[in-house]
């Protein structure tokens, strides 16, 4: 196990470097970061040159990248051009997005897995068909459309919720945005669980469990579910990174001041430090989530041994 973790960590290094370098290059293409500093006017050449030297923008890109990564590993994500520390922005933005992601994941686990089990056990019945159709529709409608429609219905027409979320973004206000963020993945989790349950239901160990007279709920929860959840866990784990990145759209619809909001502002204002910093953290989250998923395999499936 220990050796496996080390090997996986070593494998993560090139991916991390590659992904951050790619983002770094993209942001560099994004445009002249100095241009945003002089407001609407163009900077005069002397000021521009001075600012360039001050921020180290006159050096080649690879040097800038190395310096930046060196700083990141000492916890210094740089300063946004308005003088605010990027880490400060992160400290306000990440908790909000984490809450949002947490709600989304909870929806996926509770609603998605339950629906998957129910339909998987009742294949071909009306419930199954209905839920399947519903998942297909949810997958097809882009998140921003789902979000806008639910906001229109629940927030504006019926007044059940506040259409936009306050700056503090407490859990209660994030329930609908969380559902919207989860929607597509929720549908995938349902379908994945359903297929998996339906497949395993015919397996020998389930027949044995039934034959030795175990009550139905025990067969389902202990024998069937545990074995069927392995692909679902992979999906949900990989989804953590996806959700945090995909939160841009949801956060924009409900005006949530989280990671997506800061990133969007950073891109609009050509604030390279903010963008690169946030994306670097997101990439790290994604990679760690995938590692955790692989390790969880061993817990769920004792047949898997890491060497």
């Amino acid at each position: 196990m220990g050796r496996y973790v080390v090997r996986r960590l070593v494998q993560m290094v090139p991916v991390f470097v590659g992904a951050t370098l790619l983002i770094f290059l993209m942001v560099n293409v994004m445009g002249d970061p100095i241009a945003g500093l002089c407001g609407e006017r163009r900077c005069d050449p002397a000021t521009a040159a001075r600012l360039r030297a001050e921020f180290g923008l006159d050096r080649p890109v690879w040097q800038q990248y190395l310096t930046y990564m060196g700083n990141v590993f000492t916890g210094d994500f740089g300063t946004a051009f308005n003088g605010q520390e990027v880490t400060e922005l992160m400290a306000t933005a990440f908790p909000v997005t984490l809450r949002l992601t947490l709600i989304a994941i909870l929806f996926e686990i509770v609603v998605g897995v339950t629906l998957g089990v129910v339909t998987g056990l009742r294949r071909g019945r009306p419930v199954d068909t209905g839920v399947l159709l519903l998942t297909l529709v949810v997958i097809s409608v882009p998140t921003f459309v789902t979000g806008l429609l639910l906001q229109l219905l629940l927030g504006v027409k019926w007044g059940w919720i506040r259409p936009s979320v306050s700056t503090e973004a407490p859990f209660a206000e994030l329930i609908l945005p969380g559902l919207v963020l989860a929607s597509v993945s929720l549908a995938y989790v349902t379908r994945l669980t359903r297929t998996s349950i339906a497949e395993n239901r015919r397996s020998d160990y389930v027949r044995t469990a039934i034959a030795k007279g175990l009550p139905r709920h025990r067969v389902v929860t202990r024998h069937l579910l545990r074995n069927s959840l392995i692909p679902v866990v992979t999906f949900i784990g990989a989804d953590v990174g996806f959700l945090m990145g995909g939160a841009i759209v949801t956060e924009r619809i409900f005006n949530i001041h989280g990671v997506g909001y800061q990133l969007y502002q950073g891109i609009l204002r050509q604030n390279t430090q903010t963008v690169v910093g946030f994306v670097t953290v997101l990439v790290l989250v994604f990679l760690v989530a995938n590692l955790v998923v692989d390790l969880l395999y061993a817990v769920l499936d004792p047949r898997i041994r890491y060497v």
């Binding site: 992904a19 429609l149 992979t234």
Partner: protein, 329 residues
């Protein structure tokens, strides 16, 4: 992340192979496939002549209501994106501010949006953008992805290792985020930057699948036999491996087409995809959202059109998947 492995069963005609049909939207299981354990031997049905995977799949598809419905919707979409004026004669850019946010009236069945443009005309004309982006991006992704993936799987060794790492790198970047960063600088008002971006971030998905598929197919006896007979590597890849490995790529590409259309609309909604005066459902939805209280129709029609389009392509992909490989879910 676990890699998907595709069974190479499709090499054999799969008349009686067990496995239930997963996605008949009507919930009925289609004829021709006995329900049974996935992968369970169903026993080959009587065969008069050898059938290929493709003729089998086509036979299945023709009987599948999901395929027929989604196929008809897609045909309609393609037709109106080729000749939008056939059913909406006005110009999508002809707007009259005096009519802003007005509801439906004769001659303008969908009403007017915030700029006083006819929502019906704009919705019809928006199909072209979506279909163009979807089709071209999918073609690009499929070609680039399957060539690189097949080479990685076929050549193995260093090529494979390097390509797999590159794939991982691209997977670690959130798509919408990458789009925001890359496309925010581009001022061009055509579909090309969006297509280019989707190809750039989309190919690893296909290349992973093509790689896995090639590796599986490579182990088959007929490939070994051809190799033993002295077939060249090019011939091996092009004549024996590629035709048998292409099915999963087609399936994933068809489903991806729908998601690319959704992605274009999402990027346009965020303001970095297409920009006005281009006509795109994403732009219209974005423009309609601030005044949705007064004129919900301006939001609902393009949203509906977008949803139906994406749904049609995803359903088509599902039907094709069921037909090409009943075991592949």
């Amino acid at each position: 992340m676990s890699e998907q492995h595709y069974e190479s069963e499709r090499v054999v005609a799969v008349t009686g192979v067990g496995g239930t049909v997963d996605l008949g939207a009507d919930g009925t299981e289609r004829p021709g496939k006995a329900p049974g354990g996935p992968g369970g031997p169903g026993g080959p049905g009587p065969r008069d002549r050898p059938r290929s995977l493709w003729s089998d799949a086509w036979r299945d598809l023709r009987r599948n209501p999901v395929f027929i419905v989604s196929g008809l919707v897609i045909c309609f979409l393609v037709l109106i994106s080729l000749w939008p004026s056939a059913i909406a004669s006005g110009s999508p850019l002809a707007c009259d501010l005096a009519k802003a946010q007005e509801g439906p009236r004769p001659g303008h069945p969908f009403g007017f949006d915030g700029q006083g443009c006819d929502v019906y005309t704009r919705t019809v004309h928006g199909a072209r953008t979506s279909v163009t982006v979807g089709v071209l991006a999918t073609l690009g992704v499929a070609v680039l992805g399957s060539v690189l993936g097949a080479l990685a799987g076929f050549l193995g060794g260093v090529w494979d290792a390097v390509l797999s790492r590159i794939t991982d790198v691209f997977f670690a970047i959130p798509v919408v985020l990458g789009g925001l960063v890359l496309l925010s600088v581009i001022t061009s008002n055509t579909v090309w930057p969006v297509i280019g971006f989707i190809v750039l971030l989309g190919w690893p998905q296909i290349s992973r699948i093509a790689r896995g598929s090639v590796i599986t197919v490579q182990q088959n006896d007929y490939v070994q036999a051809a190799r033993a007979l002295g077939a060249s590597r090019t011939r091996l890849l092009l004549r024996h491996i590629a035709p048998n490995a292409v099915a999963p790529v087609i399936v994933v590409a068809t489903i991806a087409l729908g998601t690319y259309i959704a992605l274009e609309a999402t990027l346009s909604y965020l303001g970095v995809g297409l920009k006005p005066p281009s006509v795109s459902w994403g732009i219209d939805i974005s423009a309609a959202s601030p005044y949705v209280r007064n004129a919900p129709h301006a939001l609902l029609w393009p949203s509906g059109a977008l949803a139906v389009t994406v749904l049609a392509f995803i359903m088509l992909g599902d039907a094709v998947r069921d037909a090409l490989d009943p075991k592949l879910r």
